[in-house]
Assembly symmetry: C2
Homo-oligomer: 196 residues x 2
């Protein structure tokens, strides 16, 4: 399908930057305020969060279960079931982020890492990109969670995670999208004993 | 699976608000800065975008194709293929938002609307929730796009959309997650002539 991308002329869609400034600088979030020239020639404002990017991991235990976390997410004041994930440190290779976050948060290390692709969680007002990996051949050691990082770690059969998505028990978009990518990959690359 | 949610005690995860203030108020984005008491008793800061919520629509044409948009998304400076979606206006019923956005952006109206669930695109730093609908029995009329809203509208076979996700041609998380929900719903509620 790449030929479609190649032949489509996008000048009727593309916006160009007129000016760009930091609108707000918090301890965690940076928000930019840009002026952009629209395809019709008019100028409009664009506000968005800048983000270093993140990695989310579908980690499969030897018995074919998925490593999950339960975490309180303050913006929604709710506990979410989600995949292990974390931000990319400055200059850090993406795979290293995945390996570091999985170990720090859950104590698992994996022998095999397969890139499943990327997703963009919030294209309207953030430049975040989330890299997705499938990690297999796990070993469990000690986690290294920060003293302020409270979470439960648990493992669920793959099919149960998919059912929890269907049932609305899991609503975190990165987890939904990464599980979809993992399911499609595993259909083509079956793992012995794993029921999708 | 609800029994799991019911028996788990979450006090070791829950954070409570100590203070809350607007950190930045743009034309589009509002960013809040809160102080929160963590389960371990310490106080930490939480920064997040507040959002009115949105609706994303998997609209199936009579021939079983999915209505898609191509849009330039400024934060990533890239054209994305995505489902029709839009923000909920103040006081607007969610279904009305879906019907309004589908008509305004694409010109389609639908006789049948089925709620597929919700997704949370950005639980780390936004309180946005996206309501997902499957819309069928479509009729095509005139769109009502804003003069500054540039996009292409196109229809693709359902299976091609899923393949484009697998291939990394579609990376928008809300579209990936909503297509996953639609696929699982349609497996149980088949539409004549629609190949998943």
């Amino acid at each position: 399908m790449t030929e479609v991308t190649a032949v489509v002329e996008d000048t009727h869609l593309i916006e160009t930057t007129v000016s760009s400034a930091v609108m707000a600088q918090g301890k965690m979030l940076t928000v930019r305020y840009d002026e952009a020239r629209l395809p019709n020639g008019r100028v409009s404002s664009r506000e968005y969060v800048t983000h270093p990017g993140a990695v989310a991991i579908v980690a499969l235990t030897q018995s074919g279960e998925v490593v999950l976390e339960r975490q309180f997410r303050y913006p929604l004041k709710q506990v979410f079931i989600e995949l292990p994930a974390g931000k990319i440190d400055a200059g850090e290779p993406v795979l290293t982020t995945g390996q570091r976050e999985l170990l720090e948060e859950t104590g698992y290390t994996a022998k095999t890492w397969v890139k499943l692709g990327i997703q963009h969680p919030c294209i309207g007002y953030s430049n975040e990109v989330i890299h997705m990996y499938l990690a297999t051949e796990l070993s469990l050691g000690a986690h290294a969670r920060d003293v302020d990082e409270a979470m439960d770690v648990m493992v669920w059969p793959f099919a149960r995670v998919m059912q929890a998505i269907e049932d609305g028990e899991i609503t975190d978009s990165k987890t939904m999208s990464a599980m979809l990518m993992a399911e499609r990959y595993l259909r083509k690359h079956p793992v012995a004993g794993l029921a999708l």
